[in-house]
Amino acid sequence: MAQIVLDQVTKMFPVAGQVREPRPIVDALDLTVEDGEFLVLVGPSGCGKTTSLRMVAGLESASSGRILFDDRDVTDLPARDRNVAFVFQDFALYPHLTVGANIGFPLRMAGVAPGIAEARVNRVAAMLRIDDQLGKRPRQLSSGQRQRVAMGRAVVRDPDVFLMDEPLSNLDAMLRVEVRAEISSLQRRLGRTTIYVTHDGEEAMTMGHRVAVMRGGVLQQCGTPDELYTSPSNCFVAGFVGTPQMNFVAGQLWCDERWQVVFGQVRMTLPDTVVARHPRLARQEGSVVVVGFRPEDVLVDPQASEIEAFDVQVSEVQRLGKEVRVLFPAPVHGFGVGEIDDLDTLTHKVGRSGELMATISPPRPVAVGDQLRLRVQPEAVHLFDALGRAL
């Protein structure tokens, strides 16, 4: 049982023999994981999430800053003295040992008597439903079973902290959803502090009590999945959380009696809830802002007036059964166009140059080339300044 505190933890990327300045791969990370909490570290590859996890594990040393387990400074403690368990992306099972010996290895290292160790291995194997596989070698197992063995090896020692580095990325899609639920329920049952690293936003949202979004070595936001969804702190988090991704367009803020945001020909009056959600709104009057809205908050509304809707031509249709996703060229500057300072670097997906998406649910027949009149629900609008920070 432990609370984990990361205090200004920084990791400089070693650039051996190069003139270039060493750059931080993790930059002054402040993070507290409460006792028994399931925290998910999420971000695109290279954002420093795995490095952060490895520093907590003691596999990587911190260049500066402190790591505390329950007020105990473990920054310079070797991995084996931290009582953490680590589940590796490719499982890292010992190929020459049987499943039973793999699970029992930490106990063997700790000098647990063979009889007691065997009993514990059997109990853990039964819990993970691999008790009939104990005599096999890892290569004889399916990837799902290997994943369980890796979990078993982590659980058997009864560690204070679980650290998992993308443990599901080597499983196929069907299995992933199943094991995801298993890990969640295991963590609930054992009640151990857990840090879970993934690049999959959906995985993060479904599993974590809290989710910490990282980018370029910097923590962007840490909060419950609901918090991240309803009030993302910047464009990056907004774009990362929720599938399909949020749409971004350039707009301008006006205030005559009521706050309004203008993008293209649309002049949208902001409801009080939106104004309340954006405390920095007042300082941005007249300036260019980024307007974000999720595809599911775009409605097809032929009756809408011209001032609250925009007409688009459908460029692509994706049918998912329960809903239809349509892509269309942005009627104003969509994100990625580069008109707004730093926006294309702040939002992590640059590929969708200027195309926006709307989700039509329940589905209705739509074809490429159709003309649609679309209206954005004003209550669901997110506003960001030109640097991508939430207003």
Partner: protein, 303 residues
């Protein structure tokens, strides 16, 4: 019809085709084959002569081309070799030289596996200051031939009375073996070490319990290569083991000393000696090769 089921592997010879063309082609192919066979015979001849000669009386060995024919064979040479002390300046039974060779080779192979794999582990899997420089140094040593350091080594060791140890000592640490171990260890997934570190193992236990069992193929490779080079050592034992010390003579020098200096003497016995000397190499090679292939095939790592 059953013949129509099996597809013909060769194009059926057509009688319609003008015979001259195919005949030219055939003749050319035959000539090519003949040339290849000739070259192969050239290479095989000494081996055939060597093995057959060991079963012949001295005068039959050098009896012109008859030396290549398996006639007048006898086991006398082998019986002589095994049962009597060998003649000339000193004497000793054959099994003693075998014992010496096996002891020296055993020390070099066994010691080499331990020492070189440990060095390679430190170079490949541990992090320490100056590691890269040491690695470069070790690899650079591989280009120095033994002959270059034979004389200084001789001055350092020749008056040491432990002749068996001296024969083995300079060859235990071997940069080429280190290189072989190094390149294998470097290729093992790093996450395995890290998993073991998390599980509570230190560098020593990671090596013994994880790395070594995963590296059987490279241990086999290094063992067989070390065996081959050590078994045939001639120059070094010639330098450090005086002719009168029978107990410390390995097979190659023993062959020289104990069949005498006159090259026309004991021809059949020399060849038989040679065959016996080579036999363990063949046995070891065949044995290890099978094991070696099996171990490589089964060590499908990943996950």
């Amino acid at each position: 019809m059953s013949t129509s089921v099996a597809p013909p592997l060769r194009r059926p010879r057509s009688r319609v085709r003008p015979p001259s063309r195919s005949r030219v082609r055939l003749r050319r192919a035959a000539l090519g084959r003949a040339a290849l066979v000739l070259v192969a015979l050239g290479y095989a001849a000494p081996l055939v002569y060597f093995v057959l000669g060991s079963f012949k009386r001295d005068e039959d060995v050098i009896d012109g081309l008859r030396g290549f024919l398996p006639v007048d064979l006898t086991f006398d040479n082998y019986i002589q070799l095994v049962t009597t002390t060998l003649n000339s300046e000193s004497s000793g039974y054959l099994w003693r030289f075998f014992l010496t060779s096996f002891t020296v080779t055993g020390i070099v192979v066994g010691g080499g596996l331990v020492v070189n794999s440990m060095v390679a582990y430190a170079l490949a899997r541990l992090e320490w200051k100056g590691r890269d420089a040491v690695l470069m140094g070790v690899l650079a040593l591989a280009i120095i031939p033994f002959e270059a350091i034979a004389i200084p080594l001789y001055y350092m060791l020749h008056d040491n009375p432990h002749k068996i140890i001296i024969q083995a000592l300079p060859f235990i640490a071997n940069s080429f073996s280190i290189y072989l171990f190094y390149s294998f260890f470097v290729g093992l997934p790093k996450a395995i070490d890290e998993a073991a570190r998390i599980d509570g193992a230190g560098p020593w236990r990671i090596f013994v319990l994880i790395i070594v069992p995963m590296s059987k193929p490279v241990y086999a490779t290094v063992a067989i290569l070390t065996f081959l080079t050590t078994w045939g050592q001639y120059l070094w034992p010639l330098l450090v083991v005086p002719p009168d010390q029978n107990g410390a003579q390995p097979l190659p020098t023993a062959l020289g000393y104990f069949t005498g200096v006159n090259p026309t003497q004991l021809l059949g016995q020399r060849l038989a000696f040679g065959v016996l000397m080579v036999a363990p190499i063949v046995v070891v090679y065949l044995f290890f090769q099978r094991w070696f292939i099996a171990s490589v095939a089964t060590s499908g790592l990943k996950g």
